[in-house]
Symmetry: C2
């Protein structure tokens, strides 16, 4: 993260950037569920005082990624199975809305982004990396989110996505899921999505993604 640029921005942008940074660390399991974060240490690392940092942590707490307890500490939350299932059921519905509600014409720029992501997916097949997989899936998610112009839908989908994104990585790390196989599946899925996008069939995109979410969840159960 580019700490030097933190000085030139406005306060709100700093909060957004720090929020994104810490959120990514949680989702990439740099901070494991249950582990404790130190407000003092984080403030020192980012070169700010606890006050503005606490605003970032409060937001992450509202989003369900952190939990602060007075006198104890700030812990990274864990996600239990019931909660995970609820999120996935809701995401399966929202992904359909993302192509039905206030749809945006598919731009060449978006197609190019998805093609680039497909290439990354194919690259991962020969050199699997769980972290890179996570980043790639995140980028794909954010790219496809631009298919809708509905701002509240975008915001909610994003919150939900990051709420449970780390579970997949946890399962891979614990060898409950086979990374190699996931990479193969993902490359095929990305190709499917790109194909539907190129045909301009947004409805198909939605249902393809819905199926992928459902299957991904099914594989995680094991």
């Amino acid at each position: 993260m580019d700490d030097a640029a933190l000085d030139t921005m406005t306060a709100r942008d700093r909060v957004d950037l720090l929020h994104q940074e810490i959120r990514d660390r949680i989702c990439l399991l740099d901070y494991l569920p249950g582990s404790r974060l130190s407000e003092t240490e984080l403030a020192q690392e980012f070169g700010i005082s606890r006050t503005p940092l606490r605003r970032v942590l409060a937001r992450l707490e509202d989003e369900g990624l952190l939990r602060s307890v007075h006198g104890v500490g700030t812990m990274v939350t864990d996600v239990d199975y019931a909660e995970l299932a609820q999120v996935y059921r809701l995401r399966k519905e929202l992904v359909l809305l993302q192509t039905r509600l206030d749809p945006v014409p598919v731009s060449d720029a978006l197609l190019a982004r998805v093609r680039a992501i497909l290439q990354r997916a194919e690259g991962l097949e020969s050199a699997p990396s769980a972290r890179e997989f996570m980043r790639m899936d995140r980028d794909m998610f954010l790219a496809l989110l631009e298919l809708t112009d509905n701002a509240p839908l975008r915001q909610m989908s994003e919150r939900l996505y990051f709420r449970t994104a780390r579970i997949w990585l946890q399962q891979v790390t614990a060898s409950h899921i086979d990374l190699m196989q996931e990479c193969r599946i993902y490359a095929r899925e990305a190709a499917e999505i790109l194909n539907a996008l190129e045909l301009g069939d947004l409805d198909a995109v939605g249902h393809i993604r819905r199926a992928h979410i459902s299957l991904s969840f099914a594989r995680m159960k094991g």
Copy 2:
């Protein structure tokens, strides 16, 4: 608001309560869109310092109800038509999910609550009050939200509801909508919902509400 009880609760509960209180003031137009709130005055009113109050304001800002600008002030946001339309389109979809996703059996307690609300609605027909209408609609919304056990869906629906709830009140205040007529319509709608609930037809509840939301938005356009 019961300020005396603020002392005995934990910090988190205080934040939740203050958040709810200020949110209601915004939604009931005690704080008009565009008006400025003073952090100092609010802190004094609630008998706390600016620090914990600012956490509440930050949350309201994340929810889109406030907007703080450094050196200028904290303003109540206004809702433009495009945003309103987006929220309503999304709410029309979510209201269907509220009865389809993780449905909860209809309890007698819930039926009793809805019956009580129906009585309030009928009472308002003879003595219309925009503020009471708002509170009643909010209570109905929160009651029906218990039809689903899906926590993320509840949270998001709630955020969306309070995001634009004040628009209706604004339109009534500006006489763009006829309060008397709205009260009549609402009593009928509440009866419809109660009827479907008593029959245990959750799918019907969802679609009835969807229609109501759509019609309510249509009346607001004028």
